[in-house]
Subunit: 389 residues, 2 copies
Amino acid sequence: MSSQPPHPALLIPGPIEFDDQVLQSMSHFSESHVGAPFVKTFGETLTMLRKLFQTQDPASQPFVISGSGTLGWDQVAANLAEPGDDVLVLHTGYFADSFADCFETYGVKATQLKAPIGERPQLDEVEKALKEKKYKLITVTHVDTSTGVLSEIEALSKLVHKVSPDTLVVVDGVCSVGCEEIQFDNWGIDCVITASQKAIGCPAGLSIVMASGRAIKSFQSRKVPPTSYFGSWKNWMPIMQNYEAGKPSYFATPSPQLVHALHTTLTQITSVPLADRFAAHRKASQKVKKAITDLGLKQLASKPENQANGMTAIYLPKGMTPPDVLPKLMQRGVVFAGGLHKQIATQYIRFGHMGVSVTDPNRDDIDRAITALKEGITEAQAAMDMSSR
Amino acid sequence: MSSQPPHPALLIPGPIEFDDQVLQSMSHFSESHVGAPFVKTFGETLTMLRKLFQTQDPASQPFVISGSGTLGWDQVAANLAEPGDDVLVLHTGYFADSFADCFETYGVKATQLKAPIGERPQLDEVEKALKEKKYKLITVTHVDTSTGVLSEIEALSKLVHKVSPDTLVVVDGVCSVGCEEIQFDNWGIDCVITASQKAIGCPAGLSIVMASGRAIKSFQSRKVPPTSYFGSWKNWMPIMQNYEAGKPSYFATPSPQLVHALHTTLTQITSVPLADRFAAHRKASQKVKKAITDLGLKQLASKPENQANGMTAIYLPKGMTPPDVLPKLMQRGVVFAGGLHKQIATQYIRFGHMGVSVTDPNRDDIDRAITALKEGITEAQAAMDMSSR
């Protein structure tokens, strides 16, 4: 039985519901950030991240820094690009616009390749763009939290390596790491940025990054120093390497409690085959998507191959807005999120199905949410019909 | 009785020992970062910070962002200074060098005014420096965690306002907010940056900043946009204002658990007169300092008026190094820190006396630490005498 007090099931696309043990780790008694016990915990955490990202290359470098997923963008813009560089940003929703903003802040020229809402840029369009200009790096949002659109990482990365081999492949995996397969080495990815509070299943407050040996080399051969201080790999890389080698080291104080919670969830995640974890997310996602189709509702992500496995963005029936439905879900103990894509924010809602809500057989969050959605939509429809009579 | 498992008392100058209730708040069940309950918690937290900083001016702006104290430097360098600006950095230890580094990262020219180890720049030297060049802002480390040197904020701020009225007064209060008096409005301070894990008594992971109306105006009249993305007040200010007004808002996901813990400790801190809190820290500090003098040991901070009230940096007897003593303290259930000031790191240790270890009458951390220090030094001295025979 859960040791958490009764509360509505948080089924937004992050933060997600957390496991009891993970939440208990957040209350860990105070430890020195440079004492042997915590150095061990932090070091093991970094090593477990290598497993989660499926990288065996010792040149790969994990980073865990207090912050949020957004800080990962600063790390990419300030360490992997230099002022004046061109970068190509693939757009599948809200988060590409913001990532492009971040690049511009650091004097990096971001060219966006946009797809219509619910779709993703096609490989031939990407190939054309890569042939037109020399890009320092390309970014792709693995799952855009605003649309639930899933990008195709493996084929994209292979294309980039073929067409523009010097271009670094950067994946925004904030809403994908832990629920969508990522084969960091095999797919030739140079950098994945993510955050703790989504499918990794640890409370918010950590920016998590994996960089390839090639990315680190590119960083080390910069012409100008990193353009961020708090996000500088020059400052953080020796610290991460020392922690993983079991040596105390200091640049800025990490959060022992959050790192303990991350250690706990990564221990859980890496104790079962990753393939099983991804399969569980695919299965739950298919159940959700079938229920939505059965309800006569459409997803933002237009085609099955475009659809994320950890969340679903659902168009509401014509005329219905999130405030018509979300409170009815809340009454039924389920929290969904409203729309986030600026152009259509009032037309859709978002349902997150990641982490323990999917993998813990003792939880019925997903079934309860499907029932609540069915009842909530029906009730909202009835209220609309009533008022339009 | 504490609900924490038995563990050595963490008496380094941060992170400190935390109250049970604060640690329990870290395990709060998952909530939406834009849902009404958390918006209320975050808004109240921001409002309580105004109390802690003793600011009644509604134009003052608090910021709470996932990160560490270091991120506060980025916020100052990227929002209050512009590339090419001159800033004056008063140096009382390690942290001024790093703050200056941070300015240089953002293209800001930092001039350091250094004092000998254990001292602080004198007001007449500061006056002379301010008259030589036009500085956009001046920074002072209220308590330098590497030396335990306390700076004089009120007199310094008055001097700056008199001699160079356009220069913003910026205080690094990472090791002072919560244990040293700061009258934000009365003393005419423009910005204080701090972190959660020291005298504020909340686990590490939050960068906490208070900016004056004058600082915000200066920020708003910048010629170029902020030079950080994650640390940009352009991105965060509307979010903080919305949270405090009870309205949901999104730029990057905050950490609900850490904010709950901050809310709990601020509720405790603001429930007693601040004057009592500062007096308790002064009293404990005097007890520690007297014990050190009685032991025949010297402090890095050379004069009583230079000495911090939340920590003490202690020179070891000649020939003794931190590894000779710290394990002996650990055996007695007390964790102190080694030296941090590069030039003399092996010659001294640091003792933090902040927060519940000082204010909770049920804790005997300070007395136990004094006894352990006495025994540990004596034992280490005996071992040295033995080996030199």
